[in-house]
Amino acid sequence: MLFTSYSFVLFVAAVLLLYYIVPRKFQWPLLLVASYYFYYCADTKGRYLLFITVTSVVTWICGIVMDKIGTEGDAYVKAHKADLSKEERKAYKAQVKHKKNMVLLLSLLITIGILAVTKYTNFVITNINSFLKPGNAIRAMDIIVPLGISFYTFQAASYLIDVSRGTIKSEKNFFKMALFVSYFPQLVQGPISRFGDLSQTLYEPHKFELNGFGRGLIRILWGYFKKLVIADRIMIAIKPMITITDKYFGTYVFIAMLFYAFELYCDFTGGIDITIGISECMGIKLKENFILPYFSKNVKEYWNRWHITMGTWFTDYIFYPLSVSPRMLKLSKWSRSHLGDKLGKRVTVYLSCFLVWLATGVWHGAAWNFIVWGLANYVIIMVSQELEPLYAKFHGKFHLKDKPGYAMFEICRTIFIMSCIRLFDCYRNVPLTFKMIGSMFTKANLKVYVDGSLMELGLTAADYTVLVIGFIIVLGVGVYKAQTKKDVRTELSKNIPLFCLVCVLLVISVAVLGAYGNGYDSTQFIYNQF
């Protein structure tokens, strides 16, 4: 069930209806049933269900075990506070921690192991094969990649790490755990929730609140508007540009880049709006995943605003633990004494950052494109970090920073850089992407804009009109938020007739203008024998 399929819309409608019909204590169990049904529909042979259940069981058991080790350890220390010296206490605590870590390691090996095996086995095989003689090649394996496995695995892992750290208590009820792992609205594209956040509202009984429901509904509609009216329409033009590369190079790469930037934003934020909106309709609060990413002034800021829950996951569970691990601290000390304070300080940050971006790239997909994409992000962030003193000097001299145009320049620069490296997401392989990006600068043909070539990409003038209007609306909503720090939705909800009107308009425009279904064309009619 894709978000944009009829069956998903019907499914959500049914779930929302049932959610407020069943007794409130059955609300979260209903969501579990719905989530498992959703997952069952994605693979009616039930293999996906098997995978997600295994992950849930492992997470549940290991969480409880770690919690128990921790509680017993604390109790022991408390009981023997008087007769243990500080050193002994420390040693005992370290011992407890070690035990917990062993369980954590085991649970992560299983859960992330499943992710690694299903998602990356064939990628590894293909790469090994490129070193082997054709005759010795290893056969690619027939492995299914369960839907949303990257998301739910990360969610389970964050729970496990949090429990081992003692920041949250373990969940004793298996079914609650299973729901946390499988909660259907966020299964496909996130956000990646933390147990500490999600559990506060996920299992609570919720009374029907018209305000909350309305807010959720308008958010769902806004999501569908961005996805169906804009993203899916613009995709029609992007497809030929990124596949027929011997025809569409040079300026087309630039156009494809901008189109894709707009498409991905609408598609991804639209999907997240649908996810958060559905949850809001049920009174469940999810973390925001985007905060106006295209208004970022630099790449680092961009990553604090785009796919936020993924970014913080990598920061909290990889970047920090890695950077402050005793080994890294030792390395930091060593490098500072050997390379000087300034450079030495950076060695560890650069190293952990490298590993984080490598992991981010790998997480996005089993392909070199994503790995190179991740590392490109790394290089850009590091370079701008290195250039910072230079910038500071520059600004000290020219005072451009206070001029409004400069902020605009920074925003455009960031969009350009991010869109440019995102092309790795578009083209078939890494060398081709480099070639295409190169052609953008060397083989530009500005005639493309005016000679009607844009009309040959599968979009009509009417489609472009819709896209331009859609762009203006999306931009307007963003600018309003950036300027006033107010949410359009919240402002709208103060005026009920206006709120309803916007909802109606969104429904109509999605239903009529949405780029869904087979294009019906009465000229296709074949009047053969009758």
Binding site: G166, K300, F319, Y320, S323, V324, S332, K333, V349
Partner: protein
């Protein structure tokens, strides 16, 4: 505390650490700064801050950070 303030001032000399309570929330210090702080604290004060303590509440102000260091020291 003085030592800590010194570490912080080395990072950003233009911030008033006595009053600011939103160092992380307002993105005055970023993740790179936090790593530097942890490394410096480990180096100079001989207190190691574990990853699970790296949460906004502990880094939002110099005071909170100092409280964390004291807690870790006595633990």
């Amino acid at each position: 505390m003085e030592e800590l303030l010194e570490i912080l001032r080395d990072l950003h000399s233009d911030v008033d650490y006595d009053t600011c309570e939103t160092l992380v929330d307002d993105r005055i210090i970023d993740s790179f700064d936090i790593i530097s702080i942890v490394a410096e604290v480990d180096d100079r004060l001989d207190v190691s801050i574990p990853a699970e303590e790296i949460i906004p509440e502990n880094f939002n102000s110099a005071k909170a950070l100092w409280a964390l260091i004291e807690r870790l020291e006595n633990d």
